[in-house]
Symmetry: C2
Subunit: 600 residues, 2 copies
């Protein structure tokens, strides 16, 4: 027919760079506005990953300067270990080139696509090369490259390469110029702020057209870089097993299983061989298709402990999450939880979450939802994300929050999914795919936190009610005291102590009786108070019990100081010989929370 021959002439290979140039929206370069955020995100992700490998505290600098005709010049610089000069062209000028693709461990970047895609986007929209400066130690000079990507072949093209003087002893800097807009400036800053929350060990400085902002670190502890683990038998596909067997033909079966997979010991390996009906010493190369299939089935069926999680994952931890949130949002309530590690299709993962309430959060509208995967904020496609689905799926009314999809009110919800293989819905890594195991963990952690928030809100409500009631009683008490005094014909009593008790304050009183002075402090609040009690007095009081921690003075002017930690509802007392007078004071408790009665 000739048609097949005609068609054959048109058939050819498409380079992966051509593919992603045409489909740049798949990588988060849908629009100039988003392009700038995606570029910075890719560069910052790489910077944080690199610092983590080197166990240095990241110090990242981001600069955005407006050029002509809608072009922006973006630079991102880090203090990571740097990249050896021979690898710079491939790392920045070749898509699908990287170090983490074949490693099973948590990392931000994985595919070796992101930053090269940004280089591609820059050369597509402005035709300008990327400028990369990198230095690996103080002993060697820095190298500067000007490079582009040959789209047809997906190979780097180095336009210039020189040694340069650089004040950093190690680190990497990338500069790109591309068509963009700063319409999403707010979102960009939000991205950096969120990044700072989940990377509390990082300092990020940003300068947008001269205007600077710094997100300070709250932890001075570098992150231990997650370690690679071996694949888990339960997550291994038959095709992969075939490939592994073919690569290791002389190895006996049991040895192969023990060495190739995580959590497979001698005993488990023998059990797998048995279940597959194979001799333990069978060499891998001799296994036929049917035997490999039987082996694969046995690997799924025999019980193997879940994959190890402590080395390959790096959750942020409850304390650091809470601290990061408090720094950025000044919350009335914040609680974080890290769930035990779990597994989906052989991939370990950990879900962490936090709930914040009050503070500077908007009182109206939907809760603020912060989604994270492997310490990277997810800022687009909230609606398509399994995290959002799980949050909306929780019945927040159970926890006394109103709800319309998400909970509403001054609520902040943070969810972090850390995994050796985060299942994103697209290459642009905007949303987590809906995996039942992950959704379940998110739901569980939010329910836990919801209960905590509910208890806190209830307590706050109770406190408020009690205070309201107390305030009402105190408002009428003086009138009652006056009336009663009139009836029994006595002077109007001092009701301050009573007021203190009703209003749940700390009340201090000094009295003298039979030549002894007694100082008494009562804690009517519902919390422990750490008090310093000052006593200014004309009595020397050298026999004071308990003995003051400090005492001085002469000639009828003495100062004594006690320290005490007073539990809620308890009473503290000191006594010495004397006639009294002078006064006491308390430190360690808010003025509104204390009543010091005059000496009687």
């Amino acid at each position: 027919m000739g048609i097949a021959e005609d068609l054959a002439k048109q058939q050819r290979s498409i380079s992966v760079a051509e593919f992603f140039e045409k489909n740049k929206h798949l990588l988060g370069f849908d629009s100039p506005t988003r392009g700038i955020i995606t570029t910075i995100k890719e560069a910052v992700d790489n910077a944080l990953d690199a610092c983590e490998e080197a166990e240095v505290l990241p110090d990242i600098y981001v600069s955005i300067r407006k050029g002509g005709q809608g072009a922006y010049r973006v630079a991102v610089e880090d203090n990571g270990p740097g990249i050896v000069p021979e690898n710079v062209p491939n790392v920045f000028g070749k898509l699908l080139y990287g170090s983490r693709f074949h490693q099973i461990r948590q990392s931000r970047g994985q595919q070796g696509i992101g930053i090269s895609a940004a280089v591609l986007y820059a050369q597509l929209t402005t035709g300008t090369p990327a400028v990369v400066t990198s230095r690996t130690s103080a002993k060697v000079p820095a190298h500067r490259f000007s490079l582009m990507i040959r789209t047809e072949t997906n190979e780097p093209q180095v336009l210039a390469h020189e040694e340069v003087v650089w004040d950093r002893t190690h680190g990497t800097r990338i500069e790109l110029e591309f068509t963009s807009s700063l319409a999403a400036r707010k979102r960009l800053l939000e991205y950096l702020k969120y990044t700072s929350v989940v990377n509390p060990h990082a300092r990020i400085r940003v300068e947008i057209d001269g205007e600077a902002e710094t997100f300070e670190r709250v932890s001075a502890e570098a992150i231990r870089p997650p370690q690679s683990i071996k694949p888990h038998p339960h997550g291994t596909e038959l095709g992969t097993l075939k490939r592994m067997a073919a690569a290791d033909p002389d190895r006996p079966l049991v040895e192969f299983l023990v060495d190739s997979f995580s959590k497979v010991g001698q005993k488990t390996a023998v059990a797998i061989a048995e279940a597959a009906g194979l001799a333990p010493e069978t060499r891998m190369g001799t296994l036929g298709a049917a035997e490999l299939k039987a082996l694969h089935t046995a690997m799924q069926e025999v019980h193997v402990p879940p994959p190890p999680t402590s080395v390959c994952l790096s959750p942020i931890g409850e304390e650091l999450i809470a601290r990061g949130l408090e720094k950025e949002f000044q919350l009335d309530f914040v609680k974080a939880r890290t769930r035990p590690a779990a597994v989906f299709s052989g991939h370990p993962f950990v879900v962490e979450a936090a709930i914040g309430y009050g503070g500077r959060l908007e009182a109206e509208g939907s809760a603020q939802l912060m989604r994270f995967a492997n310490r990277v904020p997810l800022i687009y496609q909230q609606g398509a994300c399994a995290i959002t689905g799980a949050v909306a799926g929780v019945n927040w009314k159970n926890y006394n929050l109103s709800q319309s999809g998400l909970p509403t009110g001054p609520v902040l919800i943070l969810v972090h999914v850390a995994s050796t293989n985060v299942p994103f819905t697209s290459e642009s890594k905007d949303a987590v795919a809906s995996i039942p195991e992950i959704e379940r963990e998110v739901t569980l952690v939010l329910q836990e936190l919801g209960r905590e928030l509910k208890a806190w809100i209830a307590r706050r409500e109770r406190n408020k009610q009690r205070q309201d009631r107390a305030r009402a009683v105190c408002a009428v008490m003086p009138a009652i005291a006056e009336k009663v005094a009139e009836i029994v014909d006595k002077p109007v009593p001092d009701i301050s102590a009573l007021e203190g008790r009703i209003m749940r304050k700390v009340v201090a009183r000094k009295r003298a009786h039979d030549g002894r002075v007694v100082i008494e402090v009562r804690n009517h609040t519902d919390q422990v108070v750490d008090l310093t009690i000052y006593d200014l007095s004309p009595d020397a009081g050298e026999d004071a019990v308990p003995a003051p921690s400090f005492a001085s003075g002469t000639d009828g002017e003495y100062t004594r100081v006690w320290n005490c930690s007073l539990p809620a509802g308890e009473r503290w007392q000191a006594a010495y010989a004397g006639t009294g007078g002078g006064f006491v004071d308390l430190k360690g408790v808010d003025d509104r929370k204390k009543v010091v009665l005059p000496f009687v």
Copy 2:
């Protein structure tokens, strides 16, 4: 530091096959259930594209057979032009290999990824090779390949290749075995049914585990394959322009512009050169970065007519859409509209839509939404699709439909977006990205159709009311006739003719007067009726006017037949000499719609 050197050792290229094997969910292979649908979709898309190239009417056969241990064996066979043997390994065994990537025209497949990804999925889950049979004409034998993909290199690995006898003279067949489930059988059949609606020229036969179903073609006209066009200046990025210029350094500017871009004639090219401040004869190779930038800016600013659409796009057309829907859904109302072509970022596109109502559609719940892009049904991620957004954004209450997001009730909405570059949200091509120009076109076409549906519903309502009223009048008429006859002391008249008129029926009557017989038919309905009028009579009536189309009989038993097409409201009449008697009858109109009065 040594760390950079350590890291450098781990860096390496990742093959695109490795990338997509790990990220198979990005291509629609998220789960075994979905895997089977994606595989069949990719194979059927290819089959339809191939038949279109060859301008043959597609005859596609899909077979699904259950194997052991959750494995399914799927075969898809077409009568397309076939693939020359040299190209078979690359087409099926190499991702990013194809003929349509660099062509600007409407097609189903484009990237050269889909079917190879299915091959990859099969070898990953079952370790089995793909079996491909192809033949390009009756003059050559068929070739059968057994092949896999070398994941590490993204190169095909041919395990077997032989010439075979095949009953097809041209076509291609692919067989794959992979782990799957038929849990989504209903969705699979839906996909095939929808495919059949937008490919009315295709016959698709499917056999699932022995159970067969055929989706017949409703059109016997092969589709004219869309033709490639040149890029449009308004959709060309600066980086692309640079590349084009570098590839053609000796060409004078104006000639370059005219030859390289669509809709750029001599006059437009000169205007662009002028706006860029460049001489028309400047050779492309001599243009520096700044000059190319100026040229690029001028290309965006100078008015250029929109790209041509008639050759590169292949909309289905209003009539075929309506016919396809009627065949599958037996609707009471269906209307389709094809909008004029429009443009986004230099890419031409056409939106077509249809609304169906009543018939076999569910009376309750949300409308059935059928989304299509380049004649391919979109079956996943309805919520994430711009089409869904546009449908939900129309105020359907304006058209007398209730609405909760989508309209509700027995409504079907079909939307087809055809473009040289459909902007999908992901590689799995499930949803159209939200592009304002496309959303606008969808909204406009639905508003148009909404008005038509509203008018039809209103008309139906009016008809129903009129009928109800007529029925009420007819119910009391006999009583009135009786009463009046009693008052005027005459026999009760036959009111059937009147009833026919009120009830909007076709009324036939035969009368004799003064030796002439008159047959009269009145059409009181609101439609043309094609009638056959039978007259059985004792009269020979040889002088009948008009002459009957058939007449026979002897001895006082004569039959005459007339045919007539009678418009709404019109009267037909025939007459001949005679005394009358016998009777008339009508064919061509429903019994409930006709009244034949007795001879008087």
